[in-house]
Amino acid sequence: MNSQTQRRIASAALIIGFFVFWELACLAFGVKDIVLPRPTQIIYTLFARMPAIWPHAIQTLYTTLVGFGLGIVFGVALGALVGSSRLAYDVAYPLLIGFSTIPKVAIVPILVLWFGAGTVPAVITALTLCLFPIMVNVATGLATTEPELEDVMRAMKASKLDILFNVGLPRTMPYFFASLKVAVTQAFVGTVIAETVASNRGIGNLMMIASSSFDVPLVFAGLIILAALGVGLYVIFSFIEVRVTGWARRNDEFAMG
């Protein structure tokens, strides 16, 4: 407990130290706003222009969450399908790897071609970016379920569905949540890419416009917003993960609750 507190204090100190160093370095070397604004300038910009930034932040968050939600639905469904048997897993894996290695930026133009600019391509880009980590992890979790655990169920003459719900899915939860943390940050990447390329709303678009008018503090304010949203969602899913899959870490706090 004590060492944990120490670690937290050290982490916080490092973050604060980073910004202080940034501020001081800019002052000491006389770096211009247009190259690298100081943290204080960025924070000032953030508050001063909040009414203009806010709708974009909401738009980005909305797009990301919709894409992420759809990614979970499709990812779990496809993952369950692929992971349902060792054979399906081995057969489908090469194709999945092929798809997942395609740089997703490359598909945005295609999506714009199909759906036009706006929210839809952004949602789909977020979806495709977070789909693969979820699908691959769910499939891996299911496909690597210990045969002994399935035998326990089969000895009771349990149906395939019973086995899936009582062994397969609970066993896969740690894999699933590990993938959610990756996927939610990936969904942000997808959203921002699509907004940058083909949208007139969202933080990506805001940063695009700000940089073309050399409003560098606003660009950085956009970055800060993205970082805050990303970290926020990451923390939320980490928290749920610990609550749900504490057994996988032999977590005694989990056992108490």
Binding site: E146, L149, V152, A155, M156, V167, P170, M173, A248, A255
Partner: protein, 288 residues
Amino acid sequence: MNAVAIAHPPPDAAPEGLTRSDAFVELENVTHSYGRGERQVHALTETNLRIEKGDFIALVGPSGCGKSTILKLVTGLINASSGYVFVAGRQVGAEPVRVGMAFQNPTLLPWLTLLDNVMLPLKIVPPYRQEYRAKRKSEFRDRIEALLAQVGLAGFSNKYPWQLSGGMMQRASLCRALIHEPQLLMLDEPFGALDQFTREELWGVMQDLWMTRKPTVLLVTHDLKEAAFLANRICVMQARPGRIIDDSAVPFPRPRTIAMSYDPNFTALTHSLREMIVHARPIKDVSQ
């Protein structure tokens, strides 16, 4: 309740899977091999075995003689390469018999508490399955607590498996095999990983359970003393090819005690079993 399984009149329109067998469990010319081609391993060859209802059989023999294979065949976890396995007069898989199985490893589900682990069969196996749905969980909970207490796990029902010692997990695993009052109980070296004292204690628990509920038990073990202590009949198996080479009754009266295991007759029995198993370990392959 015990008679339910075989009291069913044999259905008239006999589909495949019916038999003339009147024993509770019967293996008829069963051969089983793992793998294919050159790497094929004959686990079991031309094996015949009859088990009457309510009997307690121990299978002993050297490693790789197909003891666990017999258990898996009778549970329906694997299908015989050739020959027939009948349970309650039906080909295995179709029989309306509640089966309980305790594995060599505890195989408890790590995301469930002990209570929920032991609850699992009640959630899956009919007729408890329907009762479970009909919200009789609290009644089940009391039953589980009572059974856990019987094996010395009182007060541990809300612990997770990984918070317990190996012996405690093994006990819980035994409870899971017993909670739905199986008519057929399969034990695959369930006491193997335990220390001597815990093992002897659980032999006593097992004997009590068998004497009160009279399930049909098939126990696989390496421990000859355990076989002689618990079983009514001991089948000795040989390896490569796996087959039963001796099948004899255990004469000692019940309830048996640990003190009895130091009796000369008891020692003589385990000794003769030992001799048979030592000689049943030929290196040469006599299958063809």
